[in-house]
């Protein structure tokens, strides 16, 4: 057993941190809330080889696995960097398996072309169909449908990175009820955002859109692509959690009240240790998801769901504690803490939300319990 990062993985992580440090991403996140333009980090990503991280080497990618992608996302999350990879990486994960798309996947691996994934939630022990996030409300929407000729219909709400993407990889349900990957090129998706201006979202309206059915992509691939996006979102949240803890910790050592650093008070100390506890649990689950992604794909949904729930909770806690530890100043526009808080609030509600992650963990374990009975 060796449940630690390899030297290569540590190096990848440091290189990512270094590449991102050259841009003032946190300031940009605040300016974006005021209508400012976000720096274009796509070039940075291309130089580092991130668009092709999970693309196989024969297709011009780095041939790495989910854990390496998560390590890069962790660093992006630390500094709230807005890079359109959350949509791109799962899309390339699917396309890499498709036959007859070598030329396109090559361009996606280099970053010359940008893709976005239009995910659908795989069935579970209670819900037998594939579903998607609705534009409004709490009722799940049916996944888009696709005809045998590739004609699509349906709408998917709140799709990350869809606006401005050159191609979309859509998960749609065929007439026989099976999930299919469908390639859509050149569809304009209007950009929208809510609460966290670093996250580009769009509602993808597919009625009357003609796509290309991709061959060679099986159901497990589409299932794991959905959970890969969860795992990447979770890794981003874990990175942001660590940074929020560091900032709160530094302040708790330098801010004095009643003649003592506030970090010497149990009440403050215990709040900070709670973030450490939650982040430690999330990190262990990130390693679990990384291991399952490579060595045990049938376990990946459980691992990614648990990771998503733990990381979402950790960032929610860290975001709130960071504000509390700073007192009133932490709740002002000038401070960075609210940016992490905004990140926490939106991330937890995307792609079915962390409550769906809890539901998925339960679903997998209940299925296992029935099988054992």
């Amino acid at each position: 057993m060796n449940f630690t990062l390899s030297e290569e993985q540590e190096f990848l992580r440091e290189a990512a941190q270094d590449a991102l440090s050259r841009v003032k991403t946190i300031e940009a996140a605040r300016e974006a809330l005021e209508g400012g333009e976000l720096p274009n980090l796509w070039l940075t990503a291309c130089e580092a080889g991130w668009p092709g991280l999970v693309v196989s080497e024969e297709h011009g990618g780095a041939g790495l696995g989910p854990i390496e992608a998560m390590l890069v996302f962790e660093q992006m999350g630390r500094v709230l960097a807005s890079v359109a990879l959350l949509g791109h990486v799962p899309a390339t994960f699917v396309l890499d398996a498709a036959s007859g798309q070598d030329e396109l996947i090559g361009r996606l691996a280099s970053g010359e072309t940008r893709a976005a994934f239009v995910p659908a939630r795989p069935p579970d022990d209670q819900v037998s169909s594939w579903t998607v996030d609705p534009v409004f409300g709490s009722s799940r929407a049916a996944a888009p449908t696709v005809s045998s000729s590739g004609a699509l219909s349906g709408t998917v709400g709140w799709v990350p990175d869809a606006p401005g993407a050159d191609v979309l990889v859509v998960v749609a349900v065929a007439e026989d009820g099976s999930p299919r990957a469908v390639l859509v090129e050149g569809l304009a998706v209007e950009e929208t955002w809510r609460y966290d201006a670093t996250r580009s979202l769009g509602h993808v309206v597919l009625d009357g859109v003609q796509g290309t059915l991709l061959e060679g992509v099986d159901e497990q691939k589409l299932t794991n692509a959905f959970f890969l996006e969860w795992a990447l979102l979770a890794a981003e949240s874990l990175g942001a959690t660590d940074r929020a803890l560091e900032v709160a910790l530094a302040y708790s050592k330098e801010r004095f009240t009643f003649g003592r650093p506030i970090g010497s008070y149990q009440a403050v100390k215990h709040m900070l240790v709670e973030i450490l506890r939650l982040a430690g649990n999330a990190r262990s689950l990130m390693y679990y998801a990384g291991w399952a992604g490579n060595d045990s794909p049938e376990e990946f949904p459980l691992a990614a769901a648990a990771f998503r729930l733990a990381a979402g909770k950790a960032l929610d806690d860290a975001g709130r504690t960071q504000i509390s530890v700073h007192g009133g100043i932490g709740a002002t526009w000038e401070h960075d803490a609210p940016l992490y808080f905004r990140r926490a609030q939106l991330s937890r509600r995307l792609l079915g939300g962390t409550s769906d992650a809890a539901d998925r963990v339960a679903s997998v374990l209940f299925e296992q319990a029935r099988a054992a009975a």
Binding site: K269, L276, D295, L365, A369
Partner: protein, 406 residues
């Protein structure tokens, strides 16, 4: 990230499995209290002897003292195989896991030769006499007094509490104050105490569940022979820290030893089809199961570090916080969902779990003090002001009286 055995560990696993296949028919059956049932305890001691003969005990102990001289990962493999075979492990986890290693680190050669082999075989069971009614998380506040006589023997008086296995142990490792004029951490010494010595009284301590997993131990002018001290006189605090470090490792290696696992709770809930479909039950169970999964992979991370020779720091204690929190939530969910029947105190009920947890929260030190420790040692936060530093222990009582609210 690799969960597979190395070729060497894989071979070791086969060896262990083969031994267990051959001998598991001799193992005592489960059931009965290993704390109170005399026959169960005797059978478990004998089984510990068998495991030792088979090389499945003292795995990380040096070969010189009857151990196998192997690493923590071998220990984990053996634990996994023992659990897979459905047989009990050793009885004296406290002795072999924590007290033996302390004697190996600090004891004299005579002590090692005398005490270690029978400890390993289960012929002599040990207990840990550290905590006292007024010294728990603040362990250095122990008041049990040992005074040296002219002939080199010692006279020991005081009271210990929360002592697992004291009712049938042959020996105890005991922390006592030998110089009260020194500050509290300085004047302590560690001793070997024969539990059958005159003046030692053991009284079971019944808990919420009605079971007595622990004891109180009264020491009334007990005579200890010369050279009963382990490590230097007045240097007992350093010896105690060694025991506490092995305690952290033992708890870490034990992992899911309590049998509190996501799959077991899931199976209990899944018997109720209505519960399985209930959104609220699913959400709560998903969160609980996530905590238990996190604990499993946190222990794998710790083991990987340990196998590279790195000693786990106090942050490892946070796993206990998560364990207790998740188990409390699991008990709550089971009782909320399955109704009063879930509170049955039979073996297949959850009443014992619900009863044990409030106390376990403080086992091995309270959660609050653990969070202080992690905050200070791991996060580098300044300590709360304290008033016992550098003050002779003998003056502390007066100081406490002065400070107590009128």
């Amino acid at each position: 990230m690799d969960l597979n055995d190395t070729p060497e560990l894989a071979e070791y696993r086969l060896k262990v499995r083969a031994w267990l296949d051959e001998h598991k028919a001799d193992a005592p059956e489960g059931g009965g209290s290993q704390h109170e049932d005399v026959a169960v305890i005797a059978a478990r001691r004998a089984w510990q002897g068998e495991l030792t003969k088979g090389g499945l005990n003292g795995i990380t102990w040096p070969a010189d003292y009857g151990g196998q001289g192997l690493g923590p990962l071998h220990q984990v493999v053996a634990n996994q195989e023992i659990s897979r075979a459905g047989v009990p492990g050793i009885l004296d986890i406290i002795g072999v896991g924590m007290l033996g290693p302390t004697i190996i680190a600090h004891g004299s050669e005579d002590q090692k030769e005398r005490y270690l082999p029978p400890m390993l075989s289960g012929e002599e069971v040990w207990c840990q006499l550290f905590s006292e009614p007024a010294a728990g998380s603040d362990l250095a506040a122990v008041q049990a007094r040992a005074r040296k006589e002219d002939d080199g023997s010692w006279r020991l008086s005081g009271q210990k509490v929360w002592t697992t296995n004291a009712q049938f142990a042959q020996y105890g490792l005991l922390l006592a104050r030998t110089d009260a004029d020194l500050p509290k951490h300085k004047g302590l010494t560690m001793f070997v105490v024969p539990m059958d010595a005159e003046g030692v009284t053991v009284r079971p301590l019944r808990q919420i569940s009605g079971d007595a997993h622990f004891n109180e131990v009264f020491l009334d002018d007990v005579q200890l022979e010369p050279n009963s001290e382990v490590g230097p006189v007045d240097g007992g605090w350093g010896v105690a820290l060694t025991t506490l470090m092995f305690e952290r490792i033992t708890i870490g290696l034990g992992g899911e030893g309590f049998g509190w696992r996501a799959d077991r709770f899931g199976q209990a809930l899944a018997r109720d089809e209505h519960a399985v479909a209930d959104k609220e039950v699913r959400k709560r169970f998903g969160a609980i199961a996530t905590d238990f999964l996190a604990l499993r992979y946190t222990s794998y991370r710790m083991l990987s570090e340990l196998s590279k020779g790195r000693i786990p720091g106090p942050e490892g204690g946070l796993a206990k916080v998560t364990t207790i929190k998740a188990a409390i939530e699991a008990g709550e969910l089971l009782a909320d969902t399955l109704g009063p029947d879930a509170l049955s105190e039979d073996e297949d009920g959850w009443g014992k779990l619900v009863s044990d947890l409030p106390g376990l929260k403080s086992a091995g030190g309270t959660e609050e003090i653990l969070r202080n420790l992690v905050g200070e040692r791991v996060l580098g936060l300044p300590p709360e002001p304290r008033f016992d530093k550098g003050v002779p222990f003998s003056e502390l009582k007066a100081k406490e009286r002065e400070m107590s609210p009128k």
